[in-house]
């Protein structure tokens, strides 16, 4: 038997002295590499190679170095050359290599026959799918993900909207980012943050709006706390509905009632106007005032005068805001005072708290408004910044536009010229792309789980890289009701069995992360590329390949949409001699770099909204580049850190200090919105007296399908729980650790109680994380959503807590 070779021994030795990396051995991680070691200093040797990849988990976009030996990922180290994380990783990141090696990887396609899942070959699986699509192309839906790589999303997008002339493609990012998108579009006319992570390094004040970056974006939060440990003064103000690890580090904690953020933003703007200390010059030069149209509200809104704006916002006095938000009036005055001071740089951070919100678009727009009105915009450290929870929510969903209403590059299906241009780029027949948006996520699943006889007009659903059986709100209505519907067919591509594969009729084994090539786009507009490093297990295959192979089956069956104007396959890739490479056959998929072909094709869309991407090879060299990436006279490619600011953004016109060049009012100005506060759709009452808020925990990512297979993380956080206030627990005679039943009007689940734990909710509210597939809190959540973004509100609904004995 071969024992550890010397390289490996050297690795182990290094391990004993350092903490910042991990050696993957059969699913268990051991440390190997110090964060201080630059790439060139990583332990090298015959058989062991290192390569860069962005971390598989969140939207922060840390880079790791992946150590591969004998076709297996054996080590992970923080990548010191990466600007995002500078070698640091979070507790999940150090173990990321182990996600490939859970014991129950899916390795064969599985088809449900007479209620039982049986192994089949890929060819049969593709046939089943292609036949169903051929039979009824318009009732097929594709549900994707912010974990899709850019090429995966782009291939799915082209296949659906171009090939099948079907707009029923939507991603899980609808559930997490959609309101941020509508907020950016309503305010600036173009999606995604203007600033970047450098704002965190330069702000004097950090305001977290319903946001817990200490747990959810720990590496970013470290950038702030690290400044403190170096003696810099950074004031952190945490506005939230419960105390969290972020609160622990905060100088001030403003506890608000759910939905209070809307009132707080209005209150700040009211005071800035009332005290006449807003940034008049910035507003005069760069902003307009906007409100919703009375008849049919849109994201464009209607122009209102400054006087009208003053009139409307006049009622949001600190006293009224206190009543609506629960935050004391003097704290609202404190916030307004902060924003009135232009000498201190202020960065606002938010994520799901403001996005999973029935007033998501409104509160996003209002917080942008606070920054614009006060002039805290466009200087490093002065920024309203939304964070993403998924590694490519920005790259794949928001930029490739894998949403029911969008086309690549920030274009819309509803606009004829956008469709035409897209058809030209794709060399498709005029009219191929439909002008009516497809179903958004909630509607898509409603139509899928509703019997066909009752108008449920989605019959086949293909799910890639996500887990709707755990993440959809109100699961009993939107997912579980699929069971028993004979004519509905669910296809799930995943790497492990999940809550979604439970109801799947066909399960496809997928390759993951460094088992395939990929490109992600993180929260700060950074596009990041990596190469395949190891083979997927068994018959697991790339998601892009699946889409292309299905398209090819349809092509062979004579589906006209799979042919371009020249009669060629829409995903045709040719070698240098002009000969077509049969990339739909998996043996030939890696004869070429399909990712690169798709990326270069996609790239031509990105200039339309000044989201310019560099050629693929530039990303191979870099640890990601932030768009717009513009070619310089010397042939090099320059990234942009601060959009709309003349000092950094090459698209700002000469002589302007700031320019919002995609302004919805076509005058280079951003919009300061007015929205009236409206109460949440469901509020606690006598029957359901608690607010229920849901979210994540540090140790687990998303639905835990990956992190729960990493034993160090699962040991640290083995189960979901319900956080209760000690007062509430005492009143109900509930003990620490006791299992209780949480019930809402939609469902119930059982959870152990954690009092005074990591999060501390105020009396009358509880918090439950959603990572645990054995305790599905989304059986309880509400499917009410924002009118513009269609993003559901997972952060507030009415619940009751029942002792287990009483519940029976």
């Amino acid at each position: 038997m071969k024992t550890l070779n010397t390289d490996r021994r050297q690795l182990m030795k290094t391990a004993a002295m350092a903490a910042a990396g991990s050696l993957v051995t059969g699913g268990v991680s051991l440390p190997v590499v110090n964060a201080d070691q630059a790439v060139g200093e990583l332990p090298a040797g015959e058989g062991l190679s290192w390569n860069k990849a962005p971390c598989r988990f969140c939207g922060t976009g840390c880079h790791v170095q992946v150590g591969v030996e004998n076709g297996r990922v054996v080590a992970i180290a923080g990548d010191k050359a990466a600007d995002v994380n500078k070698g640091l990783l979070c507790v999940k990141g150090y173990h990321v290599g182990g996600i490939l090696y859970g014991n129950d990887r899916l390795t064969k396609p599985l088809l449900r026959k007479d209620g039982k899942l049986v192994e089949i070959e890929w060819d049969e699986a593709l046939d089943v799918i292609a036949q169903r699509i051929m039979k009824s192309p318009e009732t097929f839906a594709f549900y994707g993900s912010g974990q899709w790589t850019i090429p995966e999303g782009y291939a799915a997008q082209k296949f659906m909207k171009g090939g099948l002339s079907n707009n029923h493609i939507d991603p899980n990012a609808r559930l997490c980012m959609a309101s941020a998108v509508t907020g950016f579009i309503a305010t600036y006319g173009v999606d995604e943050p203007a600033g970047c992570y450098q704002d965190l390094d330069e702000c004097d004040v950090l305001i977290t709006w319903g946001n817990n970056p200490a747990e959810m974006h720990p590496v970013l939060f470290s950038r702030v706390t690290d400044r403190r440990s170096r003696g810099e003064k950074v004031t952190i103000i945490d506005i939230g509905t419960r105390r969290t690890r972020t609160t622990d580090a905060a100088d001030d904690y403003l506890e608000m009632k759910p939905h209070g953020d809307v009132a707080i933003a209005l209150g700040i703007m009211h005071l800035l106007i009332e005290n006449d200390n807003y940034d008049k010059s910035f507003v005069e030069k760069h902003c307009n005032f906007r409100a919703l149209e009375a008849a049919t509200p849109t994201l464009k809104g209607e122009a209102i005068t400054e006087d009208e704006y003053r009139k409307r916002i006049a009622k949001y006095t600190p006293e009224l805001v206190e009543e609506l938000s629960g935050v004391p009036a003097e704290k609202i005055r404190m916030l307004a005072g902060l924003f009135a001071n232009r000498d201190r740089r202020i960065t606002s951070l938010w994520c799901m708290g403001m996005n999973q919100h029935t007033m998501g678009t409104a509160v996003n727009s209002l917080v942008h408004g606070v920054h614009l009105m006060s002039g805290h915009f466009g200087r490093p450290g002065d920024a309203p910044t939304s964070l993403t929870g998924q590694p490519s929510a920005c790259g794949t969903v928001r930029e490739v536009g894998t949403l029911a209403h969008a086309l690549p590059g920030g274009r819309l299906v509803a606009k004829e010229d956008h469709r035409q241009q897209c058809e030209e780029f794709w060399n498709l027949r005029a009219g191929s792309i439909q002008g009516v948006p497809g179903y958004h996520t909630v509607k898509m699943f409603e139509q899928f789980t509703k019997p066909t006889s009752e108008g449920g007009d989605i019959t086949t659903m293909f799910v890639q890289v996500t887990n709707p059986g755990q993440t959809l709100p109100n699961l009993n209505k939107l997912f579980n009701s699929k069971q028993g519907l004979e004519d509905k067919f669910l296809i799930v591509s995943d790497v492990y069995p999940t809550a979604s594969t439970e109801l799947a009729d066909l399960i496809l084994p997928a390759a993951m992360w460094v088992e395939k090539n990929g490109v992600y786009g993180n929260s700060e507009r950074r596009t990041q590329q990596w190469f395949k490093m190891v083979d997927p297990p068994g018959d697991a295959r790339d998601d892009t390949w699946m889409t292309i192979a299905i398209a090819r089956k349809l092509f062979d069956l004579g589906h006209e949409g799979m042919k371009d104007n020249d009669g060629e396959f829409i995903f045709s890739v040719k070698d240098e001699t002009g000969k077509e490479i049969p990339i739909w056959e998996f043996e030939h998929y890696y004869d070429t770099n399909v990712d690169k072909h798709l990326f270069e094709e996609y790239r031509q869309f990105t200039t339309m909204k000044h989201k310019n991407l560099a050629p693929y090879d530039e990303y191979v060299k870099a640890r990601g580049l932030r768009w717009p990436v513009v070619e310089q006279d010397d042939g090099s490619w320059r990234e942009t850190r601060f959009r709309f600011s003349a000092f950094d953004d090459p698209f700002v016109s000469e002589g302007q200090e700031f320019e919002f060049y995609h302004s919805t009012s076509q005058d280079g100005r951003a919009q300061i919105w007015f929205h009236d506060y409206t109460p949440p759709p469901e509020q606690p009452d006598q029957e359901y007296p608690f607010w229920l808020c849901t979210g994540r925990v540090l140790e687990h990512w998303h639905t835990g399908t990956m992190t729960r297979r990493l034993s160090p993380l699962n040991r640290a956080m083995p189960t979901a729980y319900i956080e209760m206030n000690p007062q509430d627990a005492k009143a109900a005679n509930i003990r620490q650790g006791e299992t209780v039943v949480i019930e809402t009007r939609r469902g119930k689940t059982e959870l152990p109680v954690w009092i005074d734990g990591r999060g501390r909710p105020p009396a009358g509210s509880v918090f439950v994380p959603f990572f645990d597939e054995t305790k599905l809190i989304n059986d309880c959540t509400l499917d009410e959503h924002d009118p513009f973004s269609k993003q559901p509100d997972y952060k507030k609904c009415a619940a009751r807590i029942v002792k287990k004995t009483a519940a029976g």
Partner: protein
């Protein structure tokens, strides 16, 4: 125990009843306790390897002399945290130990292991201190500047791990060495150094 446990955990506990259930009522031994041998300490035992004993263990030499290796404490532990020391440990082999990497002592309120110890080498008249934990700062993620608070959250002993500026430190006066922090530490290399109590008090009747 401050961390919530799952229903499954609690159900499993109920089913792990001591094997000789007739000698216990609700985990408390009802049989007379045999006299502890408090005789002179043989040299061999005095040189025994320091091991991590269950709570309330008497001085190691007394322990080795008195422990009958009956396994009652092992059966009584509701969390399967006590196990027999491996054969390679020589004179210690077969005696009850805790290996926190596999399962830590969760510091039960009523110490069923002590109640189950017939020879009385686990006794409630001595401190329950089994050892002490220490944070190895260069391995600890929180000391590296990233958020991690799991050891202090799961520690069953009030004030045994205090967190300062996000970084944990063990208060050795309060720490009982139960090993929960060692068990849950998710750092790539475990950042908790757990040391057994090298000297435990002698038991005098």
């Amino acid at each position: 125990m401050r961390y919530p446990r799952t229903r499954a955990d609690i159900d499993t506990e109920a089913s792990t009843e001591p094997s000789h259930s007739t000698r216990h009522i609700a985990g408390i031994s009802i049989e007379p306790v045999a006299a502890t041998n408090l005789g002179p300490v043989p040299k061999l035992a005095a040189q025994a390897i320091p091991v991590h004993r269950p709570p309330g263990a008497v001085d190691e030499s007394q322990f080795l002399l008195g422990c009958t290796r009956c396994g009652e404490c092992i059966a009584a532990c509701p969390h399967d945290a006590i196990r027999k020391a491996a054969n390679r440990l020589g004179p210690v082999a077969g005696t009850p130990v805790i290996e926190a990497d596999l399962a830590a002592c969760l510091m039960c309120e009523d110490y069923p292991c002590i109640a189950a110890c017939e020879p009385g080498v686990l006794t409630d008249s001595l401190p329950v201190t089994m050892g002490t934990a220490r944070v190895t700062e260069h391995l600890c993620l929180a000391h590296h500047g990233t958020t991690c608070t799991i050891c202090s959250e799961r520690c069953p002993v009030e004030h045994a791990i205090c967190v300062n500026d996000g970084k944990p430190a063990v208060n050795e006066d309060a720490c009982t060495g139960c090993g929960v922090c060692r068990y849950v530490c998710p750092a790539p290399e475990n950042a908790i150094l757990l040391m057994p109590a090298f000297k435990r008090p002698r038991y005098t009747a």
